[in-house]
């Protein structure tokens, strides 16, 4: 505003607005400060991981597979370790874990059928390369994937194995990747998804809610109808449908899925606020001085309900971080080339039976801390913004 010049020259202290008062109140709240520090720490962590300062090499296999957490090493019996190492060594190679090597053995359940089929087709059972192709149809894909991920073939495996660590701070996963790096990388994914999706949902919901609440009448009826239809479809089904339509895995997809399905609750809140405020005298006064609809909606009413939107936004972040975990766990989340807390939990599902709980533990721990801190922060934020201004 151009009056800034005046302020400076006269040297008048501006009166504190809503935000500075709320900020002061927030700083008086001990829980708010603690939770804020934790959330900021997570944000910094995510930022550091995004620019590659931390956990850049999460995909490197630096330890033995299923290496236990450092502090847990002592309590793991040597037997266990050696057994796991042995079983690992028994496999053809660590790296080819993906390529179903066991299937060459007697254990392939389809072996008999295939033999039979081949016999029927008049082919010899010892087809060599042919046979392998039939047994493992994914071999090509995997080879390609490996190339993409920068992994070398089996030849290098021995070299790498020589340097591998027997334990890591948070343990290692199936491939020997550091669980700590993974969980940090997962934080980045989850926080990005949580914030971006919350922003998308808030933009959609707040905008439609403002239209519905402000104009009322037919606009309101139509948007309510739209919202009811959206809400009448079971959530997971809707997510599946959108995932199917977008047909591409990745962070952007997850953000879109969550954003497009999650706008309903903020729509209702903002709509109600606009209905309340549009009848207030200050909005009528704005009409009287000739302010346009858009001006009344976004210049006059919006600042008066922005605290509601902010609280809803931060609620969304918590909800969407959890949703991302669920989606990734169900396999609709981020692709295999990214790691998120959800995909870690997914992997951990199989590992848990074997007793390798550290991946599950790390992902849960990080998620629980962030979600709890953020929820508490949201509560404090709501308290601080509660418009009890005179």
């Amino acid at each position: 505003m151009t009056t800034a010049v005046n302020t400076a020259s006269i040297g008048i202290e501006r009166s504190p607005g809503l935000w500075s008062l709320a900020w002061k109140r927030l700083l008086r709240d001990k829980i708010a400060i603690v939770s804020m520090v934790i959330v900021i720490a997570f944000l910094l962590l995510a930022l550091a991981s995004a620019v590659g300062l931390v956990a850049g090499g999460w995909n490197n296999e630096i330890a033995k597979n299923y290496a236990p957490p450092t502090w847990f090493k002592g309590s793991t019996t040597e037997e266990d370790l050696s057994k796991s190492n042995k079983s690992a060594a028994a496999g053809p190679s660590l790296d080819t874990g993906l390529s179903r090597p066991e299937f060459v053995n007697d254990r392939d359940p389809l072996r008999d059928t295939i033999t039979e089929l081949k016999q029927q087709l008049g082919q010899s059972t010892s087809g060599g390369a042919d046979e392998i192709k039939i047994v493992d149809p994914l071999a090509d894909v995997i080879a390609e994937l490996k190339k993409k991920l920068g992994r070398t073939g089996d030849g290098d495996a021995n070299e790498v194995e020589a340097e591998k660590l027997s334990s890591l701070a948070f343990g290692a996963d199936k491939w020997g990747r550091s669980v700590f790096d993974k969980v940090v990388q997962g934080s980045e994914t989850s926080i990005t998804v949580g914030f971006a999706a919350a922003l998308v949902a808030t933009l959609i919901g707040a905008f439609l809610g403002a239209l519905a609440g402000y104009y009322g009448g037919k606009t309101d009826d139509f948007l309510n109808w739209f919202y009811s239809i959206f809400n009448s479809i079971p959530y997971i089904l809707l997510v599946l449908a959108i995932a199917a339509v977008l047909n591409k895995k990745g962070i952007l997809t997850v953000v879109l899925i969550l954003g497009l399905t999650g706008w309903a609750s903020i729509f209702r809140v903002v709509r109600a606020e606009y209905m309340k405020h549009k009848a207030r005298d200050y909005v009528r006064a704005a009409n009287a001085i000739g302010a346009s609809h858009a001006r009344r909606m976004f210049v006059h009413i919006f600042p008066n309900i922005s605290h509601v939107i902010l609280v809803q936004l931060s609620l969304y972040v918590v909800i969407f971080i959890k949703s991302e975990v669920i989606l990734s766990y169900l396999g609709f989340g981020v692709g295999v080339d990214t790691v998120s807390w959800g995909s870690m939990l997914n992997e951990a599902q199989n590992e848990l039976i074997l007793g390798y709980w550290w991946q599950l533990g790390a992902a849960t721990l990080f998620m629980a801390i962030l979600v709890t801190a953020f929820s508490l922060f949201t509560d404090s934020l709501r308290d601080a913004l509660d418009p009890k201004l005179k």
Binding site: Y282, A288, G290
Partner: protein
């Protein structure tokens, strides 16, 4: 000399605002209420009258209110300040009861009125079953509710505001209290109903021989009913005495100002004397200088409204529509530099007319000729340049200013919209000028509305209208929410602005005295229709219509009636 029923001695109450600051709400208040006596506690907002009543009832918030240790409140021989919460609760509603300002929000909407009366009876008199039913009906009859047997099963929303207040009174007297505290019981009511309720309270007081502590900001209403008057200001008692003494020979300047800053029906000084004028001793001179009012046919017309109708629809059932005629065939001419007063009780359609004229509502039918054009026939876009020429000041100054805007932003917004002034510096200069014109310090420019009092906020609202240099200013109950002394200041301001800029006002109010003071001609409305339209002096001296007569009769006249 009998012993007083309630004796308040040296009552000091302070509130803690934050860690270091306290606010002294009462600075040593002493007064007595004798048995069978009505005492009026009069003062403006912030005078401490409500704090006094809360202290008597033991309802002060424990967390931040502190009653000084040498204070004494003695009721019926008991020291109320020494009683435990439980003992005070038993006393409340039984020996001391209270009625509040807003009957609608004081009654619980989900219970019938009979149930709520019986609840009081059960709590304090242990009366249940048929006996309680019978008593509830008796009480409703006593407060003058017609066909009480039926109404006892009504819910509060099925009754009018006046009837609700009667129910509140019935609840309050259910236990035959010795002391009734009435906190602004008529402020939210229309003038004719206010008179009925005042009469009812006076009647019950006499019949039952109880004492009444009547709290109000309006000195005029207590003239009829009070035996003694206590005038308070800023937590101190300015004057107390019998009603006659206070009204006919007020000693304190503040009391004098309170008595005369409220416009009277029979005189119209050029400016209303405010408290500062009394302090400076120039009030008497001001009172003698009278202002002539009235319109002649030769006066130029700014706005002519012909046959204005406004209907509202409410949905009834699935497909039905119910029509409510808020304004029926209203026609008038507004003359340049003159004021048209619009009077009527709530629901009479006076506000509807005001809002429709400036197109905040769309007219159902009718024409409004302004500057040679029918503004009702214009599109929103065509109307925009005219919008700034017809402006409105709303009733509630607490609601009509955007709480997130600084005063500077509020004042500069209309200039931005209408392209008044060149650039921000020019506009802020104009805003500063307007602030000093409406009597606010320059510092206000940087403050938010919540930092101002009601009167100051109304000045800001007026200044906002002035930024657009309007021809017509609609004042919709613009002074009704203000204290009388502040009201006088704002009325004076409006008067000055009219003299300076030649503004035409449409002055809407339920307060006949204020309308009389401000208006050249007056239109009386009832149920959406204009029942009388006259030059104001003629109308007040010789009302023709029944309704107008009834309205004029209900004006509280202070001591004049006794």
């Amino acid at each position: 000399m009998t012993t007083p029923l309630l004796s308040v001695r040296n009552l000091r109450v302070s509130f803690r605002i934050d860690r270091s600051n306290t606010f002294d709400a009462l600075k040593g208040v002493s007064f007595d209420v004798m048995p069978n006596q009505t005492v009026a506690l009069v003062g403006e907002s912030g005078s401490g009258k409500s704090v006094t009543s809360l202290a008597v009832l033991g309802l002060l918030p424990k967390e931040n209110a502190k009653v000084s240790s040498d204070s004494q409140i003695e009721f019926d021989g008991k020291n109320l300040l020494a009683l435990s919460r439980q003992e005070i609760r038993e006393l409340r509603g039984d020996k001391i009861s209270m009625i509040f300002q807003e009957p609608m929000s004081s009654l619980n909407p989900v219970f019938t009125v009979g149930y709520q009366i019986k609840e009081v009876l059960k709590e304090h008199k242990n009366l249940t079953g048929a006996a309680a039913d019978k008593r509830a009906v008796e009480l409703l009859k006593e407060v003058g509710i017609p066909s009480a047997e039926e109404r006892v099963d009504y819910y509060p929303h099925q009754m009018s505001g006046g009837q609700q207040q009667r129910v509140m009174i019935a609840m309050a007297i259910a236990c035959e209290p010795k002391l009734l505290i009435a906190d602004e019981p008529t402020t939210a009511l229309d003038v004719t109903i206010q008179k009925q309720i005042l009469d009812l309270i006076a009647e019950i007081q006499k019949k039952r021989g109880m004492s009444v502590l009547f709290i109000t900001h309006d000195l005029a209403v207590v003239g009829d009913i009070a035996d003694r008057v206590v005038v308070m200001r800023n937590g101190e008692i300015k004057e107390q005495g019998t009603t006659k003494e206070v009204f006919s020979a007020p000693k304190d300047d503040y009391t004098k100002a309170l008595l005369s800053c409220r416009p009277a029906v029979d005189s119209r000084p050029k400016r209303l004397p405010v408290i500062e004028d009394f302090m400076a001793g120039r009030a008497e001179a001001m009172r003698s200088e009278q202002r002539a009012r009235g319109v002649r046919d030769a006066d130029p017309v700014v706005l002519e409204v012909k046959g204005l109708c406004k209907d509202f629809y409410s949905r009834e059932g699935l497909f039905g529509k119910k029509t409510f005629h808020a304004a029926k065939d209203v026609s008038f001419k507004l003359r340049k530099g003159k004021t048209l007063g619009l009077v009527g009780e709530s629901g009479s359609g006076k506000t509807t007319v005001g809002l429709t004229v400036m197109r905040l509502h769309d007219a159902t039918k009718g024409e409004a000729w302004f500057d040679g054009k029918n503004i009702f026939a214009m599109t929103e876009k065509e109307f925009l340049p005219y919008k700034k020429r017809i402006q409105i000041v709303f009733q509630n100054p607490y609601a009509s200013l955007n709480p997130r805007f600084t005063v500077g932003q509020i004042l500069m917004e209309p200039m931005v919209i209408h392209g008044i002034g060149k650039g921000g510096d020019d506009r802020s200069k104009m805003a500063f000028e307007l602030l000093s014109k409406v009597g606010l310090p320059e510092m206000s420019f940087y403050k938010y509305p919540h930092e101002f009092s009601g009167g100051q906020r109304q000045r800001i609202a007026i200044a906002r209208c002035l930024t657009m240099k309007p021809d017509i200013l609609i004042c919709d109950e613009s002074v009704s929410a203000l204290d009388v002394s502040v009201q006088a200041q704002v009325l004076n301001l409006l008067q000055d602005l009219q003299d300076e800029f030649g503004l035409s006002y449409i002055f809407i109010s339920h307060d006949l005295a204020v309308v009389k003071y401000m208006s050249d001609e007056v239109m009386v409305m009832s149920n959406g229709e204009v029942v009388e339209h006259e030059n104001s002096d003629t109308l007040y001296q010789a009302p023709k219509h029944e309704y107008t007569k009834r309205l004029l009769d209900s004006i509280p006249k202070g001591l004049a009636a006794t």
